[in-house]
């Protein structure tokens, strides 16, 4: 057992921490929230120069073959400043999908562009019902010679509005969900931002007679959902990392505020009720963060981590909501204003909850797995 990070990992964390804090302080986060593109192209490029988009990918495609734990560290640090970027959609939701299921040609074409920061991608999988299950994917892919024609509406597609390529889950006649690579600029595609509490790039994507060649399929026909699930299990861990990082920031900011803000002649952090609120916050953070590290380790070890990924995402969802809510409450009035950094966290907690599966979905998954496979 060795629960220290390696010195390389500490350096990576340190670099990421300094980068996000310097390049994207909370004022900038708020500014980016107000823009149509919802991210900072200059910082996206700088991150690519630092090699972070390529961290997890094989050297063969221009990546660095770093461990999952390294990627986790980036996400934790992004969480601390709520850095807005298409990192999750592009690198995780799409990049890992291509790595997992793509042909060699697809990998060679797309991964280097992702790694260089030249290509943003978005995964279009949810539909009108908002179900995270395979049954929720109903869009049909009509066979048309060697090609497929897609029609229908995808919802809650992160970063579609700034993407160059989409991965769209649809069903060829008689088949299960299948993944299609689609050019975002296809004239049959209309992309509209959906306004969310997270003020992020959540989009509606309407496809009308969008025709794609047969070789745009990623993985086997009808095998798309298995790929989605495999990638989303890792995605859930990384979203948890982002929430864990954000939770830590909430606690630090709130503890600092509670020591400084005085009412009735003492710092409010001296009141027992505030102390107990903060003790509860710290407990929830500490258990969630150490669980995160353990599950990330399981991923790197190649262990079966699916049950744990679901439990972890549920744990982080609830911890971040709890912690950010208490944080605003302790900040009092000032915490509710648009100017307050802490309010950013409270809003993001609600939107992160839905990415890669909400709490209820994951609780039911945990039980499906425990009953089917037993306790690991």
């Amino acid at each position: 057992m060795n629960l220290d990070f390696t010195s390389e990992q500490e350096m990576l964390r340190d670099a990421a921490s300094r980068f996000f804090a310097k390049e994207c302080p909370f004022d900038r986060v708020r500014d980016i929230e107000e823009t149509e593109e919802g991210y900072a192209p200059d910082l996206w490029k700088k991150m690519a120069e630092l090699g972070w988009q390529g961290l997890i990918f094989p050297e063969a495609y221009g990546g660095f073959e770093a461990g999952f734990m390294d990627l986790m560290i980036i996400f934790e640090e992004m969480g601390k400043t709520l850095f807005p970027s298409p990192f999750f959609s592009t690198v995780v939701q799409c990049g890992l999908t291509i790595l997992e299921g793509g042909t060699e040609a697809q990998k060679k074409d797309l991964l280097p562009r992702i790694i260089e920061g030249d290509l943003i991608m978005a995964l279009a999988r949810l539909e009108q019902e908002g179900s995270y299950r395979a049954e929720g994917i109903r869009m049909e892919a009509r066979k048309d010679g060697d090609r497929y024609v897609l029609n229908g509406t995808k919802l809650f597609v992160a970063d579609a509005n700034i993407s160059g390529m989409l991965i769209v889950a649809a069903r060829p006649e008689g088949s299960g969900p299948t993944l299609f690579l689609v050019d975002s600029r296809d004239p049959g595609i209309e992309i509209t931002k959906m306004p969310t509490i997270g003020k992020d790039n959540t989009c509606e994507v309407v496809l009308k007679e969008v025709s794609v060649p047969g070789d745009s399929i990623i993985g086997p026909v009808g095998g798309g959902f298995e790929i989605i699930e495999a990638v989303e299990a890792r995605g859930a861990v990384l979203m948890a990392a982002e929430m864990v990082g954000a939770s830590k920031a909430c606690i630090e900011m709130t503890a600092a505020y509670a020591k400084e803000r005085e009412q009735y002649g003492i710092p409010i952090g001296g009141f027992q009720i505030i102390q107990h609120y903060m003790a509860n916050m710290l407990i929830r953070y500490d258990v969630a963060s150490n669980y995160l590290y353990q599950v990330a380790w399981m991923v790197d070890e190649g262990m079966d981590f699916e049950t744990e990924a679901s439990a972890l995402k549920a744990c982080a969802n609830e911890a971040f909501k709890f912690i950010s809510e208490r944080a605003v409450q302790i900040h009092g009035g000032i915490g509710t204003s648009r100017e307050a950094d802490i309010g950013l966290f409270y809003r993001k907690a609600k939107s992160y909850e839905y990415i890669c599966g909400d709490t209820e979905t994951h609780y039911q998954k945990v039980m499906d797995n425990l009953l089917a496979r037993g306790i690991s």
Binding site: L126, E129, G130, S131, Y132, R133, E135, G136, L155, F156, M194, P195, T196, I197, G198, T202, E204, E262, Q263, Y264, F271, I273, I274, K321, E325, V328, Q329, G332, G333, G335, T336, S337, R338, E339, A340, G343, Y346, R347, K350, S351, E353, Y354, D358, T359, E360, T361
Partner: protein, 400 residues
């Protein structure tokens, strides 16, 4: 024990229901999608409708129905006020400037000169003015007595310098009732005075505070050498703290909050009946059902409690009500918090959507997720309320 309304009360309720149902058909959409405070003060359109309703309520005699007859009210009973507040809240109707009608007017009636009464009260009663409250300061929140805005006498005027904050409707208000320190040598709650301030005076600057969802109803108000005529001093100089304690027999049961919650709950129930996921209506999902049943249970229980507060208040048994009103505030605000949490969870990814064609219930639940945390903070944080409950309701010792 009898919870029923008299025939007269039922008729009054039904008149109110007809009135608000009709009037609210003309309300701008913000009254459906956003919290009342934001609907009233954020947009010009919303504010205009509030002003319109103010006049309509004044015409009907409902604006000041709780005022004594002497001042043009009709001294309505607590029960009547509860009925009015329930229907008014259920329909999410504006038209009440509570700063003028319910907070400043009682102070004026009790402490102001006859000249001031004649000048200040009629415009409020006619629904022609909007007031705001000048109490909180950056360093005086829960601990109001630590405020530091000064009003220094200079001839016929007081010269005011300082800053107020969390001033609801400050950008819409014609007047502010200001609490300022007229005797800087005194500490805490001594040496404070109350002024009726024209918001148009030179030296007053109102800056918006945006709420986390972007809504504009709070403001900072800066005073730089603002000259306020001595005739605007209400009550004796230095007695301001006493004046902040002035209240009339307004109902403080919280019943209106439950009526508003019922409206939201009804909408949520319709939503789960009409929405399917994974081939099944949400209304058949046991986890969803459990969440709704928990809300319904607390809603009914809290509401019953609010009636008891109203009843005791009507009986003049006010010794009970300080703790009970705090209980009602805590329970109702935290119940709304549970409701918006459950609602946004039940909606799945739709739970994050703000007002837009995709948003269930006009995005009102996710709006509620943001505004509800204000309600557990303002008007006495729920922490302070729990202290009061322990001290006043259970006589637990207050250790300094």
């Amino acid at each position: 024990m009898d919870f029923s309304l008299t025939e007269e009360q039922r008729a009054f309720k039904s008149e109110l229901e007809d009135f608000f149902r009709e009037e609210m058909k003309n309300a701008p959409p913000c009254y459906q999608n956003t919290t009342l405070i934001e609907a009233m003060y954020h947009t010009d359109e919303g504010f205009a409708f509030h002003r319109y309703m103010q006049k309509r309520l004044a015409e009907k005699g409902w604006l000041t129905m709780a005022w004594p007859e002497k001042y043009g009210g009709r001294g309505a009973s607590i029960a009547e006020q509860v009925i009015f507040n329930e229907v008014h809240s259920y329909y999410r109707a504006p038209g009440i400037d509570r700063f003028g009608v319910a907070m400043f007017a009682p102070t004026v009636m009790l402490f102001a000169s006859e000249e001031q009464k004649a000048r200040i009260l009629p415009p409020i009663a006619r629904g022609e003015v909007q007031y705001c409250q000048g109490w909180s300061e950056p360093n005086a929140g829960s601990d109001l007595a630590s405020l530091s805005t000064t009003a220094v006498r200079d001839g016929d005027y007081y010269v005011v310098n300082g800053q107020k904050t969390w001033t609801t409707a400050g950008h819409r208000a014609d007047h502010m009732f200001l609490l300022a320190r007229t005797d800087p040598s005194k500490k805490r709650n001594a040496g404070l005075s109350v002024f009726n301030v024209d918001m148009g005076l030179p030296g007053i600057e109102v800056r918006p505070i945006r709420y986390m969802n972007g809504g504009h109803f709070y403001n900072e108000v800066f005073f730089t050498d603002v000259k306020i005529h001595k005739d605007e001093l209400v009550g004796p100089e230095g007695d301001g703290w006493k004046l902040t304690r002035a209240t009339m027999n307004f109902e403080r049961s919280g019943a209106g909050a439950y009526a508003a919650l019922l409206r939201s709950f009804e909408e949520l129930l319709e939503y789960v009946k009409g929405t399917s996921r994974d081939g099944k209506p949400l209304a058949q999902d046991p986890v969803v059902r459990r969440k709704l049943a928990m809300i319904y249970t607390d809603l009914r229980a809290g509401w019953a409690h609010s009636y008891m507060i109203a009843w005791l208040q009507e009986q003049g048994k006010t010794a009970f009500t300080p703790a009970a009103a705090s209980e009602s505030k805590v329970f109702a605000t935290e119940l709304r918090q549970r409701m918006v949490n459950f609602a946004t969870e039940i909606m799945g990814p739709y739970g994050q959507l703000e007002d837009s064609p995709w948003a269930p219930l006009g995005g009102s639940m996710v709006e509620g997720y943001q505004t509800v945390i204000g309600s557990t903070i303002y008007a006495g944080t729920n922490e302070i309320q729990r202290n009061i409950i322990a001290w006043a309701g259970l006589r637990l010792p207050r250790i300094k």
